[in-house]
Amino acid sequence: MLLKNTYNEFIKILAKPRSYLGIGALTLLVGIIIFAMKADGLSIISFVTSSFEQTLTFNGAVLNGNLIAYIILQMLIVHIPLLVALVTGDLISGEAAMGTIRMLATKPISRTNIVLSKFIAGAMYTLFLTLWLGFVALFISRQIFGTGDLIVLNSDGLVILQDADVLWRFGLGFCVAFLSLLTVSTLSIALSAFTENSIGPIVSTMAIIILFTIIGSLDVTVFDNIKPYLFTTHMASWRSFFRDPIPFSSIIQSIVILVVHNIILVAIAVYKFNKKDITS
């Protein structure tokens, strides 16, 4: 029954126009960034590298597909949670608002399976969105700008990664980025179990992300104890794959915290939905 209802959930997601909004918006944004970098990328890059030119000499194509893909990910990973929540935040509450959850809950499928099938479908949608981002950001950028060594400026300073050493870092980075987005998806579905309108969980998800991000960025001692446990602290862990050496222990810690968040949020949603009186 779980598989059958998961299949149903896919059909519903595929039929909803809002599901294509995220994919369309993502494609458009990547297109705009690629266009901008093609038009004015060299001057932007020389502005960044100028401070190093007294001590370093840059040879080859600094503005290459790898760098563009990295810039795109940096820019969009902040906005993709909204595109994810737009679809996943509606999965339970949207059906409550429409009244179809009432029809579904009178069928011989357990409420736990209803929620789990929505989580699986939400996870698959999130995975597709991440893969699509990877495709348009990495594949198209490399096609247009060519390949080359990746120069990354992070808190450790300037890191130069060889072209042959880049793709697997992107691959693992996308995996962690997916886990981060999955947490957003799970959070929005969990919030969706509490309400009967589709906007509430979407807005609440974004509000929580903004709140946690602000708490995480505030340099206040009182928040130091909770910062490591906020999922937003670990949402940018994918960037760690572009450091040298890669801090695997901190990445694994981030993965564990994100996975724990997902498990707790799924458990909350299942418990709430099982206890809920369906009055819509």
């Binding site: 059958k4 209802n5 149903n8 059909i11 519903k12 039929a15 179809t100 029809m103 579904l104 009055t279």
Partner: protein
């Protein structure tokens, strides 16, 4: 032979915060019944029905369907029930066929596309299968709702106010569909309504609930036959007829509607004697039309 009890509800109660939606509802439905679940708006019908479908957990009381309880046999019970609660809601962005496929997949039965098409034809939507629900009228959605209830061939069908919001033609269509379910497929049907006239036309047994309590339960004909009729009489001289009837039956309440028409309350058994009285007194009787005072009966019951 005693018939099998399909639904058994005992002392059901449900509270939402401080509001007691259902206080004490008990009734039973036997196999093959078309059971009327009657009560005014806000009486607790929908809450009771939601409890019957495990959408709401009651605070007090017990519910047994097919002799089983939701605590242990939820899936087995629901796989044998088809239902519409208040109004059938579907996925507007999907076609009628796709909607039925979605509900069929989780109904616990293997329903083929051919069977779905047959079901659409049964409810008169055979040529609308590919159309999205966005363009469907309320009546069409209601018929699709009935198709959805029948997909997995359940023994029990629960319909909560299925004719609400329909035009007269839609009401007749749904009523005929329900009668076909009873006559052709021998389904047990629980039908909730706030209109006694509707229940009288379809149901064989009923319970009346008001303010969250069940008030009276029994056979529709037995319950209604104990009540007085409203008899409309058409004669040449209504005033003379009224005097004659009043003299013979002093307790009768009379109302003269026009020179040729009067109405009176009367027990069913005395209607033939009334006809004989008028004719033997050389009155030209054009019509004697007994009707039940359903609204009065309903009001009397719920106010008792």
């Amino acid at each position: 032979m005693e018939s099998e009890t399909i639904i058994e509800v005992e002392n059901l109660a449900k509270r939402f915060g401080t509001f007691e939606a259902v206080k004490d509802v008990s009734f039973s439905v036997n196999r093959g019944d078309v059971f009327g679940f009657l009560g005014p708006n806000g009486a607790g019908k929908s809450t009771t029905i939601r409890c019957l479908l495990s959408l709401i957990t009651p605070d007090v009381g017990s519910i047994k369907l097919f002799g089983k309880s939701f605590k242990t046999d939820r899936s087995a019970i629901l796989s044998n029930i088809g239902s519409i609660i208040e109004k059938p809601d579907f996925y507007k962005y999907l076609s009628a066929q796709k909607n039925l496929e979605i509900f069929a997949r989780v109904s616990g039965a293997n329903v083929s596309k051919k069977e779905i098409q047959e079901m659409l034809e049964f409810v008169g939507l055979g040529d609308r299968g590919k159309h999205k629900l966005g363009g469907f009228s309320h009546g069409m959605k209601q018929r699709l709702g009935i198709a959805q209830t029948l997909l997995h061939k359940p023994d029990l069908i629960i319909l909560d106010e299925p004719t609400t919001g329909l035009d007269p033609q839609g009401i007749v269509e749904i009523r005929n569909l329900i009668l076909r379910l009873k006559n052709e497929q021998n389904k047990t049907i629980l039908l909730s309504s706030h209109q006694l006239s509707e229940i009288e036309l379809i149901a064989n047994r009923m319970v009346i609930i008001n303010q969250g309590r069940s008030i009276v339960e029994g056979s529709v004909s037995d319950l209604l036959n104990t009540q007085e009729l409203l008899v409309r009489i058409e004669v040449d001289n209504a005033r003379a007829a009224a005097e004659l009837v009043q003299k013979a039956y002093p307790e009768t309440i009379l109302k003269i509607n026009s020179d040729i028409e009067l109405e009176l309350t009367f027990v069913k058994e005395l209607v033939p004697a009334l006809a004989r009285l008028l004719i033997s007194s050389n009155m030209n009787v054009h019509a004697i039309e007994p009707t039940r005072k359903l609204e009065d009966y309903f009001m009397k019951i719920i106010q008792a």
